[in-house]
Every structure is written in C-alpha cells, then in structure tokens.
Symmetry: C2
Subunit: 362 residues, 2 copies
C-alpha cells in the first residue's frame, strides 16, 4: 500500500493506494468519528463493492443510499435523496458519509456532507480511475445545473481517500481509458518526466498492469496534492488542473451530459488547449502530436464533436466559472510540464484552435 | 451610525447600524468586489426597499431575484431560483449576492452564495429586527428540509452587514415583537445587565423609539459577535445562542413552518428552557417570572401549543442537530446571563418542564 498526504494544515488527510483495501476494515473505520455511517453509492457499484464496506461498519449504525448511475443524475433533486436518507435514519452532526463510486458519487456525497447540518465528515472510496486520480482528491464537490456543470457546490475536504486498485478490474474499457486522459493531464501540466514515463508504459497501463497502475495513480495524486496544498480554493495556481476542462465542459453541456464521458470530453479539450498553445508559439508541435497519438491509442476523442460549432464553444465557455469580468481565462501550456492560466488569446485565436483541432480525428 | 466588527481573522467583517443606511450607496458598494451584483429579496420587502439598493449599484451589472415571502419557501426548490437567475444572467465567480430582507432571505441568499460556483461574496441588508440582531450576524446559512429546520446549509460569512433601522418602521407588530424575543435572549444567556436594561426600556422598545432600538440592536450584535468570534463553527460555546431554539424548532416543525413566527416559537422555547433550569434548581424562580412577564407584555407565546404533547416535543427534538449519540443536548441557564450546554436532564425532567410551562398562558 502506498500512502500520500494532502497537506492542508488542520484539514490535511491521507490517501491510501493499493490492492484489497476495501476489505481492510480498520483503514476505513479509524477515520469514522462517531457511531453513524451513511454509505452513498450507485446502482452499478453497490452490487459489486457495497458488501465489504457495510461489513467494515457492522459495529456502527450503518445505512446506505443508492443513487441512479450517471452524470445526468448529478443534480439538486437527486442530492436531496441523500438528505432524505440522513434525516429518515436520524443521522446527527457527528455522522460520517462514505462515497463509494466514481466522480459523480464522490462529488454529490461530498457536497451532501458539506451541507448536511452545515457540515459533517466524509470519506472517499473512489472506484473509477478518474475518481482515484482526480475527483476524490482536493475537496471540490458539486452538482450540475441545467445551465452549467458543477455550478452548485463547495470546497470541502474528506477525512481520507482509500483508492482500492482492485475495483478498477470491473471498470468498462471506455471509462478506464477516460481516466487515463486525466493521468496524462498531470504529465502535461506539471510533470514532463511522468509524461515520458506514461508514453513508455501506455500499453501496460492499458492492460491494467497492477504495478504500473499503482505508480500512475500515486504519481497523479502526488501531483494533484501538491497543487491543492498550495491553492486549496482555486485562487490561482489550482486552475492549472483544469487543462482541457473549459473546452471539455462546453462539450458536455452541449451534449446535455451523457454522450461523451467526462474524461473523453477532457481528452478532446486538452487537444484544443495544446493546439492553441502551439498556435501561440508556446508549445513544440511535437508535443501536440505525442499527445494526440497517446489519446488515439486509448481510443479517446482527439477533436471537437463535428456538429459543435466554434461559436457554441465560445458561448458555452462564457458561462463557465473561468470567465472573469468578460475575459475568457484558459489553461494553456508554455511547455511540456508547464501550464499557465491566461486570458491572452483572442476569441479569434480560440476559434482558430477549435477549428484546426478538427483534423486530429482517429 | 454605530459600527461593530465580527472578529474572525481574515474573514472578519463590519456591522453597520443606523438610520438611512440603505440610501448611503458607498456603504454597500465599497464591499462589492467586481462588476456584478444580484439582489435577492422577497415580494413583501422588494416594493419597499429594492429601489435604493438597485440605485446604489446602478454603475454595475445589477440583477434581482424576488422570492415568495415566508419560511415555507425556505427550501431547496426555491433556492434553485437564485441559481437560475445567476446563471441566466451569467454571473461569474466574482459576483456579489446581496440579501435584502429578513432571516429567510438572508439564510437562503447566504447558502446560495456559499454554494454558487463553490462560493461567491455576499452582503446582508437585514430588514427585520430578528435578522438585524440574529440571523444576519454569524454566518449560519441554510434551507429547511420537510423533516427538519435548517438541515441543509453552510457556515459562510458575509462581507458586511448593513442594518438600516428605518426598515423596521414598516415591520408588522407581530414580527417586531418576535424579534425582541431574540434580543431578550442575549440578556438571558450572556448579559444580565442588558436584561435589566431591557426590562426598564421595554415599552420604549415596543414603541420603536429610535435611540433605544439602536442601542438594543448594537448590544445584541455585540453579544452575538463575541460568541461567534470564539466559536465560528459551533464546536461548543456557540450553541448557547440556541437557548430556546431546540424546543422552538420542534414547535415549528410540528406546525409545519408558518403558524407561529420563528421568534414566537423561540419565546415559548426560552420559557421551557428557563422552567427546566428552575426545576433543576439552577435558576432563581423570579427570573422565570420576569421573563414570562416581559414576553407577555409583548404578546408573545409563553407556553407550548396546547395541542402539542411532550412526546411530540421529544420525538421532534431528537431529529434536531443538538442530538449527539442519543443524548439530548440542551441550552439551559445556570443563572441570569449565564447559559450552558448540557445533556444532564433526563427525558422525564424535560417532559415535566414542558408540562409545567403550560401554566404560563397570557
């Protein structure tokens, strides 16, 4: 088992990464403060992994709340089901919410924990690669609004994150590949050595080799933890974690959440961001090609949806959180492993990059 | 104009109390960080006071969101209307929400500000006595759930509070009196000198004498600010502000929110708490009588609703946030001006106090 710490003063917490962790009861329960636990999961994950988690908490009052599976259910209405269960089962301020699932379950459970009785404890048990390397770490929680992704939420840190690699064995191929997109992101924004390593180990990673996987997850979490420690509430630096996300969110909103997976939209978004960085003369064209090749090997999208115009991108991106006083802020690459936040590109340059990314089709 | 500060390190903020403050534009706008403002108000208050607030922000993008008036609308569904407006009008992360109204508007606007894009600025312009002396100060925000009051919310501090005493002139008599109940609370829990002063000035206060009112509000805010500074997130001490509230919330839940006003339920709750303190031998019986007389002069309830059994109290109180591991925590009085949090009373003692409070009818 590997262990990292997200350093946030009194809100610091550990991330455990390894095999068979869900059946190590005390790993979970030593972070439970009192006698009540609510496990939140979804209809896909619960039949696979709920049992050992309930067993670990058998000496406590343990309840569960099983949500429908999918990003389209990440809204206030479904969130309210968590509150319903907490109140029906009389959970008090010392309860602990446990998120067992992917990013949607983690984001919703985290926001429920942030808001229930103005804040109770929560623990992340991420079961997808995307959640293990990204959404479970760093304390961003939210639900979607019909007009924009993650518009309603809180910064709220878990007590711990337990990433059991075994849970990835049941992950559908497409979701697994979408998770690798976020792993590659860390190489692009902050860790060129990791980018090189990933390129060399991409096939081992794709075949879910345990050792390679553990290294990739730990290195991703380590990169994320270092950024979050320096900028918990996204005052500046933390925004670099959003490489590809502003374009990606626009794609997801345009599709109405549920066509491409989040990581797939981010993959296409990273290509657009890299392409724009190249056009600005910041990024070596070879890096864009290396990125596109890696994503294509993983069968991830590398171009915007053909039917989505550049104008629709611009329009939907304007609603995103990265717009400050009318200027479009974007995360771009000054070099491999070196991201920056900028509002320098003009709308014409952004449009041009979207259009020229269309040539990167698999 | 009087000015106090709620001392909370980097989250410290001023409270301004005085006449004609709503028309002093710069008082508001110097706390607005960027170019967007959303004023949230309700159908009763907006026709009276929205105009000067919009005028103060005329050089900015200023939008408004007018909610229906009443505690029964303090729920997730109505909260979502604030998010709808923010997104329709494309408010970004640097926007400022302004709460113009009573406690319901303040609580909902504060929670919307805490949650919109994971947190934006907000300002309180309380227009009821209750909001000016209590809910606008201290950063507690929330909406209700059908199974319990204030069950979904956040601790989230405003940038400033502007309490314009002129707005109290249009306040209905019943609401005004309900606000005085919370003023009396500060005397009971922490300030016996203030309790004595209130007893002497109760008729002047009741007739809304400007000078007496300003003193009463400032002294109430000062008492609250000192408690909040020492315990922002209700780890312990802050709970004393809830004197009468555990009983009061049970009454409100039983009535389905909307029969008695919050301050009225708290008035009856304070009598029960004082009565229980007396029965435990902690509080001088004379204090209970002085309290009951003051409340009766204000035509406030001083006894539980006749049709509400002690069993219903116990049952509904168990869902409240003050229950920790099965023990009923209550705020009681060890003496006038000296509140404590305790789980000492047995259910039988609580029941006895509820029953014996029934004799205090006006």
């Amino acid at each position: 088992m590997q262990q990292l710490t997200v350093e946030l003063g009194e809100r610091s917490y550990p991330i455990y990464i390894g095999v068979g962790l869900l059946s190590q009861a005390q790993l979970l329960t030593r972070h439970v403060r009192a006698g009540q636990v609510l496990v939140v999961s979804n209809e896909t994950i619960a039949p696979l992994y709920l049992e050992p988690v309930l067993a670990a908490c058998a000496h406590l009052q343990v309840d569960s709340c099983i949500l429908p599976d999918g990003e389209k259910y990440k809204n206030l209405e479904v969130l309210n089901r968590i509150f319903d269960t907490l109140l029906e089962r009389r959970h008090n301020r010392s309860t602990t919410l446990v998120a067992l699932g992917g990013g949607v379950v983690g984001d919703m459970t985290g926001f429920a924990a942030a808001s229930y009785q103005r804040g109770v404890d929560f623990i992340q048990l991420p079961t997808t690669l995307l959640a293990q390397v990204d959404s479970s770490v760093g304390g961003k929680t939210a639900v979607n609004h019909p007009r924009g992704k993650n518009m309603i939420g809180a910064f709220y840190q878990p007590r711990c994150v337990i990433a059991d690699i075994d849970t990835l064995s049941t992950l559908p191929e497409r979701e697994y590949a979408a998770g690798i997109a976020e792993v590659i992101k860390y190489g692009l924004i902050a860790d060129s050595e990791f980018f090189d390593w990933l390129e060399r180990h991409l096939e081992a990673l794709q075949s879910r080799d345990g050792e390679v996987l553990a290294t990739a997850i730990a290195r991703s979490c380590d990169n994320k933890a270092r950024v979050v420690s320096r900028d918990e509430r996204e005052g500046g630096l933390r925004a670099i974690l959003n490489l590809g996300h502003t374009f990606g969110h626009a794609i997801e909103t345009w599709q109405g959440y549920g066509d491409w997976l989040h990581g797939e939209a981010v993959a296409a978004g990273m290509v657009i961001a890299a392409e724009l960085s190249r056009q600005l003369g910041w990024l070596d064209p070879a890096v864009v090609n290396r990125l596109v090749e890696m994503l294509q090997l993983l069968a991830l999208p590398t171009a915007p949806p053909p039917a989505m115009s550049a104008d629709r991108f611009i329009e939907l991106m304007a609603v995103d959180k990265k717009v400050l006083d009318g200027k479009q802020r974007l995360v771009l690459l000054q070099a491999l492993g070196q991201a920056c936040v900028t509002d320098e590109p003009t709308m014409a340059q952004i449009t041009a990059a979207i259009e020229s990314s269309r040539r990167y089709t698999g």
